[in-house]
């Protein structure tokens, strides 16, 4: 059996693993990344990237369809069609390009990528089943970056008919009737895209609100838009199972009901991948269902680190990337620690939602500025939504920034920068924001909070 040795061994080439691999390589550490699938993880292969590609395609097609009717822009278009197989091919092209990109970046950093399924023998030894047979890798530092998988509902086991987000993103045909269980951001993103592509979408959510982690103000523009798109919402509803003809059975306070479905998409959350490859034998300290880590992502076992979705919420690619950098730098002895003030979160719904830092609470003071008063929003025919700041009244310190609106995902950077820099309202109000942009609204929100909004 082939044996190899290295300084750092990373299991999983998702956003956490491959970034850790690149940084470790940059720092001169002899590093191996083991990946059973294509590099890039859920995010690049079956998550963020493909979903964004499909959302874009759906938006474009939906826009084209709206031009069939009379419109303010005076554009007329007859019978636009979409070759969805071609759309998927385009999407796959992007994914492949990025797969290759990740491989190239690892190579550039002199980090070896080994394709194969890893199983942990002990905290310093990992067996990898590659296409050329098994090999043993011995390492000084082990980094677990194995990610997460879609959660299954016991009443709705995955099948050809009951699918997860992974399958939903590679459907070759747009289903006529799509029932979605789970009104979180993954279900809403795919559901909105499918609705725009022509599917008859029904969303079933147990909570009394879609996107239950956000407040009603942030969610309302999204709910309004879903309604306009003809998406049916069942709130406070529980999925009970599938009927023989494939319909989704649900129960609400008003009784049970069947929802016709060509496909049933289950998006009730994701579970960390911590079984099936020997990590349970390490007997690591757990934090609920996640692996417990400290501020340098070290687990309870010496020289074993964990990053990304296996370490808990929020299960976001950029959090895993930041953790990967910290681990690599920690291994070479740099004083890096997790000291982030916020992890931004974006929902690519329509309109988009972005949140960074503290959400409104009974103690926090907020100010909200609507896109209806923003020139750029008007020119894009999207005046729905707002920017909101949560701040400390005494010090003017900005504690949180949120926005809901078309294209606001691009405000995530400014929001996160403001929070990490410990910006005050005056810092934002006194920074010139280019006109005409949606970003001006951020400056106006700060002015509003300071009591001297200019454009409202």
């Amino acid at each position: 059996m082939k044996r190899e040795q290295c300084k750092v061994l990373i299991i999983g080439a998702g956003p956490g693993g491959y970034v850790c691999g690149i940084r470790a390589g940059q720092l001169g550490l002899d590093t191996i990344v083991v990946e059973g699938e294509k590099p890039g993880g859920t995010c690049l292969n079956v998550g963020c990237i493909p979903s964004k590609a499909l959302i874009h395609a759906a938006d474009e097609f939906h826009k084209a369809k709206t031009f069939q009717a009379d419109n303010k822009l005076g554009i007329s278009l007859k019978n636009p069609e979409i070759d969805f197989a071609k759309t998927q091919k385009w999407k796959d092209g992007i994914v492949t390009k990025l797969n290759t990109g990740v491989t190239g970046l690892l190579k550039k950093a002199k980090t070896r990528l080994i394709q194969g399924k890893a199983s942990i023998i002990d905290g310093k030894t990992v067996k990898v089943a590659t296409s050329e047979g098994e090999q043993i890798i011995e390492c000084e530092h082990l980094v677990l970056a194995t990610g997460s998988s879609p959660l299954e509902l016991p009443s709705l086991p995955f099948s050809d008919h009951v699918i997860s987000s992974t399958e939903a993103l590679s459907l070759t045909d747009v289903p006529k009737d799509l029932a979605i269980v789970g009104g979180g951001y993954i279900g809403l993103e795919i559901g909105t895209a499918m609705a725009k592509l022509g599917a008859n979408v029904t969303i079933v959510e147990m909570d009394q609100q879609i996107l239950p982690q956000y407040d009603a103000d942030l969610v309302k523009p999204v709910a309004d838009r879903l309604k306009k798109l003809g998406v049916t919402l069942h709130l406070g509803a529980k999925a009970e199972g599938v009927t023989t003809d494939g319909a989704l059975k649900i129960s609400t306070s008003e009784g049970t009901q069947e929802i016709a479905a060509d496909k049933i998409l289950v998006t009730i959350g994701r579970a960390p991948n911590i079984t099936g490859f020997g990590v349970e034998d390490l007997d690591l300290k757990m934090d609920g269902r996640h692996i417990a880590i400290n501020d340098v992502c070290a687990t309870s076992m010496r020289n074993v680190f964990a990053i990304g979705d296996i370490t808990g919420d929020p299960m976001l690619a950029h959090r895993a990337m930041a953790q990967g950098v910290i681990v690599a730098e920690h291994i070479v002895g740099k004083p890096s620690v997790w000291d982030k003030r916020a992890v931004p979160a974006v929902c690519f719904t329509d309109p988009e939602i972005v949140t960074v830092g503290q959400l409104p609470s009974s103690e926090a003071i907020t100010a909200m500025f609507p896109f209806a008063a923003n020139g750029r929003a008007m020119t894009m025919e999207r005046e729905d939504g707002f920017v909101r700041v949560v701040y400390d009244a005494d010090s003017e310190l900005v504690l949180g920034l949120q926005a809901v609106g078309n294209g606001v995902s691009e405000l995530a950077g400014e929001f996160a920068l403001a929070i990490e820099m410990c910006a005050t309202l005056t810092d934002i109000a006194d920074t010139i924001h280019a006109h005409p942009t949606l970003g001006e609204t951020v400056q106006e929100t700060a002015h509003l909070a300071l009591g001297h909004a200019l454009h409202i």
Binding site: K334, D339, S395, E396, C422, T424, T426, D427
Partner: protein, 428 residues
């Protein structure tokens, strides 16, 4: 209602002023007869001043550390007691009026009302030195670049005062912190231990001031000559052990009573050492009695209680007396007689006695004998080293009166007595 003065009583024979060391009352306090209103310090005794009436304090004169004239008004008190009223504003503490209080109750005699000095100022550290840069639980605000720099420099940002908006820690704050300014709570070094900053001011008052004055005077005015000699105390220690083994449960002998006996014997042959030098009058007064001052450490500072008539005391009697006067000094209950009148002094630091000390003469005496610690050292005896119990004596003399030769002879005399302790008890 009358406003009556309570005057600073005569707290010691022949004393004209006393140092205020403690206020127990402030203006507005209601006090009762015999409540303690203040403490003053004279010579080496601290005296509490009791209140003479029930009433309300309307004026206090003098601050801690001030010297007050005996007979001056210490406080004015508004009381229903009979007396000649005074106007608070008219009273000047530096110019005491004639006695104005009728039925003056004799203040407690100084010697009976001795309390230990409490130097309260010493226990109050400067608060600014301990101030934390922000309230507990308040967020530590710094940009990622500042945080990175702090990490790389090993600075704990929680300790850094932020001057930016909303208390944000700036690059400049880090610079200032690294330089260790007084307003910061110390800088971090590679060891991970914070530097300490700030100072603590301790007012030198009372006993400490007295000690300081006396030491300065002795050291500045008296040219000291110090002679150090080593003494083989093996025989002396054997004797002491023998005596102690027969004492049963009774108090054991320390080396001090034996040393006192040796000194008494030595000054019999060297009366010039048991003397006071009054340099203003140009007179040396040789004393017939041997009153040995025993330098004693107390919580309040150095005190020198006196073993009187050491020449007439048996060993165990001296041991008991030394014990008694030292205890009295330490508890602050020593009277004037126990604290004054020594003719020669012994200074011993016991087990901390070091190898050599340079004792400072207890004015107006002319000699002080310091004893250093006993240690077993190898001593060459003819053809071999033998372990002997050795002790140094470090004796200082007033070189104006005592010549080096005489000093050396005196020290040799003490050495001879201590090495052959039987000689101590041979009649002169």
């Amino acid at each position: 209602m009358n406003i009556l003065a309570i005057k600073l009583p005569d707290v010691g024979e022949g004393i004209t002023q006393a140092e205020l060391v403690e206020w127990n009352v402030k203006v507005g306090d209601f006090v009762r007869e015999d409540d303690i209103i203040a403490a003053v310090m004279t010579d080496k005794a601290t005296v509490e001043i009791p209140c003479l009436y029930d009433g309300t304090i309307v004026q206090t004169n003098g601050d801690i550390g001030d010297s007050l004239a005996i007979g001056s008004d210490l406080v004015l008190i508004e009381t229903e007691a009979e007396g000649i009223s005074v106007e608070p504003d008219e009273v000047e503490q530096s110019a005491p009026e004639p006695a104005i209080v009728e039925e003056v109750k004799t203040p407690a005699p100084a010697a009976e009302k001795v309390v230990p000095v409490v130097e309260k100022q010493a226990s109050t550290p400067s608060t600014s030195a301990l101030a934390m840069p922000r309230a507990e639980g308040a967020p530590v605000l710094a940009s990622p670049a500042v945080r990175a720099r702090a990490r790389n420099s090993g600075i704990d940002l929680r300790l850094v005062h932020g001057t930016g908006p909303a208390g944000r820690i700036t690059d400049a704050d880090l610079d200032q912190y690294a330089q260790g300014p007084s307003q910061q709570n110390g800088g971090a070094s590679g060891s991970g231990r914070a530097k300490r900053e700030g100072t603590e001011e301790i007012k030198v008052i009372g006993m400490r001031r007295k000690i300081a004055e006396r030491m300065s005077k002795a050291n500045a005015n008296v040219p000291h000559i110090t002679v150090v000699e080593e003494v083989d105390v093996t025989a002396l220690e054997d004797l002491r052990a023998k005596l102690n083994s027969e004492r049963g449960d009774k108090a054991k002998l320390t080396i001090l009573p034996i040393l006192s006996a040796a000194l008494s014997r030595a000054v019999y042959d060297h009366p010039e050492m048991n003397a006071h030098y009054d340099d203003e009058k140009g007179v040396v007064i040789r004393h017939a009695p041997v009153h040995i001052g025993i330098a004693t450490m107390t919580d309040a500072g150095l005190m020198v209680p006196v073993l009187r008539h050491a020449e007439a005391k048996g060993l165990f009697e001296a041991a008991q007396d030394i014990q008694d006067i030292a205890d009295a000094a330490r508890t602050g209950s020593a009277n004037r007689e126990q604290l004054s009148g020594s003719t020669i002094t012994i200074s011993s630091l016991g087990p901390l006695g070091a190898i050599v000390t340079t004792p400072i003469i207890n004015l107006p005496e002319v000699a002080i004998v310091g004893v250093n610690k006993i240690a077993i050292r190898p001593v060459w005896e003819g053809d071999q080293f033998v372990p002997r119990k050795m002790m140094n004596i470090s004796a200082s003399f007033d070189h104006r009166i005592i010549d080096g030769w005489d000093a050396a002879v005196f020290v040799q005399k003490i050495k001879s007595l201590l090495e052959t302790p039987a000689l101590i008890f041979v009649e002169a």
